[in-house]
């Protein structure tokens, strides 16, 4: 498996910001009352994460080890401020919904986390790719949690997506359950914890099932005497 495939697998699934690293839970709980909000917040975070990873990787030989944390924080805060201003100017509808949380991307520990764990040790292109896939993994998590909460809470999916993200998104607005009376708790903060809890349990189930299958395959290859390189690669 190439480095990029590994980065992608880590970002989207194995090391997913929300479902595996359990980071950035504050924005996760706060904005995921609908799938649209989750998607918008995820994409905004992805842009910041990709750019911060790229810039920090480019500067990794300039920034000295002793003062790296304040330097990273300075760079990330500047990027988020740029993001905040450009969304206010050019994506105003989305900004009105996410406004408060955009500024809070600064304190999203996943961004500083990637800067420290990946971008400060890797080449720019790989870091950019890591930022994008980690961001997409975050977007995926937020959209799924938002979708679950929205369908159960208000019976719709991606409501008002076209208003927030542009007319191109009109097609994804769905009314899943017509004439639904709503299930309020899922829209309120407790619903965020409930949805996240159940989704985490589901991911663990899938991971365990996969591990069991890999185990069986390994046993099968051992019993057939000739060990194939597949098993070796998986243990590596």
């Amino acid at each position: 498996m190439s480095q990029y495939q590994q980065i992608m697998k880590d970002g989207l699934w194995n090391n997913n910001v929300v479902f595996a690293q359990m980071l950035a839970l504050c924005p996760t709980m706060a904005v995921t009352s609908t799938a649209t909000n989750g998607l918008g917040m995820g994409l905004a975070t992805t842009v910041v994460l990709a750019l911060s990873n790229l810039i920090i990787s480019l500067l990794r030989n300039v920034i000295s080890n002793e003062v790296r944390i304040p330097a990273f924080v300075l760079l990330i805060a500047s990027l988020v401020t740029l993001m905040d201003m450009s969304m206010d100017a050019w994506l105003h509808q989305l900004y009105q919904v996410l406004g408060l949380f955009i500024a809070l991307i600064v304190v999203n520990c996943a961004i500083l986390g990637r800067a420290e764990a990946f971008a400060s040790k890797n080449k720019p292109l790989a870091s950019l790719f890591d930022g994008i896939t980690m961001g997409l993994g975050f977007t995926l998590a937020l959209t799924i949690i938002g979708g679950v909460r929205e369908v159960i809470g208000s019976g719709t999916l991606f409501a008002q997506a076209s208003q927030l993200l542009g007319p191109a998104f009109k097609g994804i607005e769905l009314t899943v359950i017509p004439d639904y009376r709503g299930f309020l708790i899922m829209v309120l903060p407790p619903g965020g914890f409930l949805a996240l809890g159940f989704l985490l349990a589901l991911k663990r189930q899938v991971d365990q099932a996969q591990a069991r299958r890999a185990e069986q395959r390994k046993k099968a290859t051992i019993s057939s005497i000739a060990p194939e390189p597949v098993g070796a690669e998986q243990t590596a």
Binding site: S33, A71, L74, S78, M85, A89, H92, L184, V187
Partner: protein
Amino acid sequence: MNAWQRFRSHLAYHAVQLGVLALLAGAVLAGFNHMTAVEIAKRQNEDLNNSIGQVVPASMHDNDMVHDVITVPNGHGGRIKVYRARMGQKVTAVAYKFVAHGYAPSPITLIMGVDPNGHILGVRVLSLSETPGLGDKIQAKKTHWIFAFNGKSLHNPGAKGWHVKKDGGDFDQFTGATITPRGVVKGVYAALQFFAAHRPLLIHGQTPASANLMHPMQGGE
């Protein structure tokens, strides 16, 4: 260890490095702020225009209401900006924002349009943090409740009627949410009293020329 590495390990390098980074970041932010300032001001004007448009029909005026502003003290130490609709010189309606206190700790912001005789043209919620699914039904996009204020004035239904039905008044409450409608009714009533108290100034107060003169002073807001 070459010269670059020696310099990097020097204490001064850390300070210089952070200083240069901060300067660069500051320069980029200042430049970008300059680039977007006009757009952001435009968006805010559009927002205001949209809000006003919801409570004062476009057919009632031929002026730019956002720029026909008069600032009036509200009697509690604050100031209220009143936007005036004109047909020619004549004031045909005014619109202004006010707050009401509902269930949530932060107040509900509303905007109201009133005709010169003190009849409500429309009331809309601009922002709120009331309970979703309960108190947020005061929004026009959720229910028709807020339209019940259309055409009402201080004397219609009269002081006794300006309460929710549960308190003996004329306005509906919601099942499971009385505090929000009660707060809004109270807020709208107070906003009408504000209009009554300042009516001569709001309707006849200033000519458009002097109102336009006022505008540059408020440009910063």
